[in-house]
């Protein structure tokens, strides 16, 4: 009994166009898995590197790295489901390579994740082989949890409007982390290590937190979209309530070499398939997005930091802000990118093209969900930080008036949408 992949029509057109290119093309398949079936929303070719070997060998490192970067650009609910290859070589000859590729991609992506998949989750990755000579497509899946798994046949069916009535759950969340730096080592790696540890603890708090959807705590197995609203696009706002970790360390006071804090807000979003999604799925996907977006940004900042080589004693760095871009299919699905404070939207558009092969214009981008962080002069480094500080701290925020107005507008919109869906 193989898996069934329901694929957007636009993917077929995209793959056909790639068939006309010379040489083999490899790329990624993006979508969402569910217990019964899987949905593919996008296909993205892996960009050629300058030193790409002419010819037919598949560059596993290149594709894996592409997958790692693309994963950061996918909001909750979307993930790299597998790979495709468009080649004139027969599938039998490429199966081993493709199998290795599928595993390499999955291993790299999962090594960066701060959360672990649940036991009941789908662990199959898909491989799609398109033969340019015969135009035949072969679809196989591998269970990436089992290193010895063999290829299983799977169905690949094109359809229109696969994600046209997918639901969106989102929230804006305050982050307030404070971690000590070790006393005896002050290198950059140590800061990265400490932050990673701190993020793990915070991720656990988020994961065990209470999730309210549209103001209510829904029973886990209840359907998110009750009744006849199946074909209407739904947007839900989530609230997350957390408790501090009850840790009784034997040494209340420890030596440290300083501290590092991450404070500000992020916008989190997750998409859910429209096949009777449950409240607990919404909660799980949103929480994962919350954790991923913060972890990715911290990671990106540290990667930039290491390259700049400037090791000041005490400094403040802005995390990039999240910008969303709709995917050109019918539906609410978006991808995202992170814009650093010294970048313009042109850089975002370039990355969207290079990494996701999306042609976007500035007006397509949604930059209203987060505001660029600004470092202010008056930061008091001796000030004690507290987890979950009250959100209305004005010192970082020059746009309070705009924020308030926007907040009111958003609330009004959300309220009117609720009214509409209750009608």
């Amino acid at each position: 009994m193989g898996r069934g992949y329901i694929v957007e029509d636009t993917v077929e057109r995209y793959l056909s166009k790639l068939c006309e290119q010379a040489g083999p093309v490899t790329g990624l398949l993006i979508g969402q898995s569910s217990a019964q079936r899987d949905f593919v929303v996008m296909a993205i070719r892996t960009p050629q590197s300058e030193e790409s070997t002419a010819g037919n060998s598949v560059d596993k490192e290149l594709v894996s790295e592409h997958a790692r970067q693309v994963s950061r650009m996918l909001p909750g609910g979307l993930s790299v489901l597998g790979v495709f290859i468009i080649t004139d070589t027969d599938v039998k000859d490429t199966l081993t390579t493709l199998r290795q590729l599928v595993f390499a991609v999955e291993n790299l992506i999962s090594s960066e994740r701060l959360w672990n998949p649940a036991d009941d989750e789908v662990t199959d990755s898909v491989m799609l082989h398109v033969n340019t000579k015969t135009r035949k497509t072969v679809c196989r899946t591998f269970d990436v949890k089992d290193p010895k798994s063999t290829a299983k046949p799977a169905d690949w069916k094109y359809q229109s409007g696969v994600c046209s009535s997918w639901a969106t759950v989102s929230c804006c969340l305050n982050v307030n982390l404070l971690v000590p730096l070790p006393h005896d080592k002050t290198s950059a790696e140590n800061m990265a290590e400490c932050l990673k540890e701190g993020l793990k603890v915070w991720a656990h708090q988020i994961e065990s937190g209470v999730c309210l959807i549209d103001g209510k705590k829904l029973p886990e197995d209840s359907e998110l979209i009750a009744g006849q609203r199946r074909n209407v696009r739904q947007m839900f706002t989530a609230q997350l309530l957390i408790t501090s970790k009850d840790q009784r360390l034997p040494d209340v006071v420890q030596l440290c070499g300083g501290s590092v804090s991450v404070r500000g807000a992020i916008h989190s979003r997750a998409f859910l398939h429209s096949n009777k999604p449950k409240a607990k799925l919404a909660e799980k996907l949103l929480k994962r997005d919350v954790v991923s977006t913060v972890a990715s940004r911290v990671q990106m900042l540290l990667e930039e930091e290491n390259q700049s080589g400037d090791k000041q004693q005490t400094e403040q760095l802005c995390l990039p802000r999240r910008v969303f871009c709709p995917v050109k299919v019918n539906g609410p699905v978006c991808v995202c990118d992170y814009q650093f404070s010294d970048e313009g939207l042109a850089e975002v558009i370039d990355r969207l093209k290079e990494m996701l092969d999306i042609d976007a214009a500035e007006e397509d981008l949604d930059t209203r969900q987060e505001m660029t962080a600004e470092v202010t002069e008056s930061s008091d480094t001796a000030e004690p930080a507290v987890e979950l500080a009250e959100a209305s701290e004005p010192k970082k925020n020059n746009y309070i008036g705009v924020a308030m107005a926007t907040a009111v507008a958003l609330l009004a919109t959300a309220a009117s949408m609720l009214y509409l869906s209750d009608a």
Binding site: C172, V210, K216, C256, S379, L388, A389
Partner: protein, 469 residues
């Protein structure tokens, strides 16, 4: 135990950890105090902010106390009475399978009901807001990380509005943070910082439940000055403890971790005699009996078990800190005082009231009076002495005679007719901690004078309360 008008009082208890984290320079004590005070101030603002949420345990109810008691589900309004919250709480013995409705009626117990709430923080809010900033401070210093175990109690009546109860809970939380700040700063010694701990004590009416913050890890013996202050503040007599850790109030719905039954006699109906008055043990004891603690002492250990019951009383009233002694420890104590040979330890030998007295003295520092009756029939005439004992000392009595030992927990005695009944706790029970069974079958029950062997002699050990706080 708690004597409360069961239909009108509700205890609201909010618990939750609050993280206390800050970077400190421990070389400068004054600066350290300032930083810690500032951190506490942030925590107070946090608790008073709109992000603070009270979650009603075992229910889908969440209340924002600083937003006018806004709550979810929306059926709960700020002016609704507190008792409405109880309908949403799911208790264990309800069938939750297959039922879609979230509303469930909860069973009322005979004492004041407790509604447990958890302290949570909402981390989401309407956006957009600015993206995060990473701040790095490189400076060799210290870092303080601990968790404050917030635990506040508010007694209110069923009909009080949820909004008002929340305001009081908020006040209690803020006040507790101040108390914790005081305790933390008071007990700071250089780089050592003690964590506060919270205990509730039930004082005699009308004072009711009182919350005290102590420094964790500091023993009761070192906190006598604080207790003196508290005794003065609450105008309590200074000859018996009220504020030792062992005196902490045990909430009705919390199970005891050790699994022993407490005060099984309270579920009994006391006998009515002409002009009879009931004189009972005062305070809390645990029921110790044969076969407990995987110790098979069936047939010989009854006096040991009675002694354990008495020791549990002294521990739970706060007179001693040591735990209830095992059979071996009891036997060793008797060897240590020279009453028995070393071969006694590990044996299955019986002990009597004199040995009980000796062990209480040796292990707990408690003195006891011995009462002797030459035949069981005389016990019927000891009403006055026994009544007096329960009035002035209120400790359980061990009675040994013939080959049996029992514990007397009280008497019902009529001064005019001389009629008497004895409340007996029987250590010969070998079953499980089943309150229903124990009381139904009379393992804890009222007995008449014919309970005693009328011709055997009996020794009674009457432990005396020390006059300390």
């Amino acid at each position: 135990m708690v004597v409360v008008d069961s239909d009108s009082e509700i205890i609201l208890r909010v618990k939750g950890p609050l993280e206390l984290k800050c970077q400190l320079d421990t070389s400068d004590a004054q600066l350290m105090q300032k930083v810690i005070s500032r951190t506490f101030e942030s925590l107070r603002s946090q608790v008073k902010s709109e992000s603070c949420v009270l979650a009603v345990c075992d229910s889908p109810v969440f209340i924002w106390p600083n937003r006018g008691a806004l709550a979810t589900p929306e059926e709960i309004t700020p002016n609704a009475p507190c008792e409405d919250l109880q309908q949403w709480i799911q208790t264990d013995d309800q069938d939750s399978a297959g039922k879609r409705s979230a509303k469930k009626k909860s069973k009322r117990s005979s004492s004041a009901s407790v509604i447990n709430l958890g302290l949570m923080m909402e981390v989401t809010q309407p956006g957009p807001l600015s993206a995060p900033i990473l701040s790095k401070t490189v400076q060799k210093s210290h870092f303080l990380t601990t968790t404050l175990p917030m635990d506040c109690v508010v007694c209110t009546s069923c009909g009080d509005a949820i909004k008002d109860a929340c305001e009081r809970l908020l006040e209690a939380l803020t006040h507790q943070l101040c108390d914790m700040e005081k305790v933390t700063l008071q007990h700071m010694r250089g780089p050592t910082v003690l964590v506060p701990e919270v205990l509730h004590f039930l004082l005699p009416e009308p004072k009711g439940l009182v919350t005290v913050v102590y420094p964790a890890g500091v023993s009761d013996s070192q906190l006598e000055a604080q207790r003196k202050e508290l005794h003065q503040q609450f105008e309590l007599p200074d000859d018996r403890p009220y504020f030792r850790r062992a005196n902490a109030y045990h909430f009705p719905n919390e199970p005891y971790k050790d699994g022993y039954l407490r005060n099984p006699h309270v579920v009994l109906t006391h006998p009515t005699l002409d002009n009879g008055k009931v004189y009972l043990v005062q305070g809390i004891y645990s029921y110790h009996h044969y076969m407990q603690d995987r110790m098979d002492d069936n047939g010989w250990g009854c006096a040991y078990r009675s002694l354990q019951t008495i020791c549990s009383w002294f521990q739970q009233q706060g007179y001693v800190e040591r735990s209830v002694p095992t059979h071996k420890e009891i036997q060793q104590a008797l060897v240590d005082v020279g009453d028995k040979q070393t071969s006694f330890v590990g044996s299955c030998q019986w002990i009597g009231s004199i040995e009980v007295q000796a062990v209480l003295n040796q292990l707990l520092g408690i003195t006891s009076k011995i009462m002797f009756v030459s035949q069981g029939s005389e016990l019927a005439s000891k009403g006055r002495e026994l009544a007096n004992h329960f009035l002035t000392e209120g400790t359980p009595i061990m009675i040994g005679g013939g080959v049996l030992a029992h514990t007397i927990l009280g008497v019902t005695w009529s001064e005019t007719t001389g009629q008497i009944r004895y409340l007996i706790l029987d250590p010969h029970y070998t079953g499980a901690e089943d309150l229903q069974l124990i009381t139904d079958k009379g393992w804890c029950g009222w007995k008449g004078p014919d309970f005693w062997d009328q011709t055997a002699y009996y020794n009674l050990c009457l432990p005396q309360k020390p006059k300390v706080i």
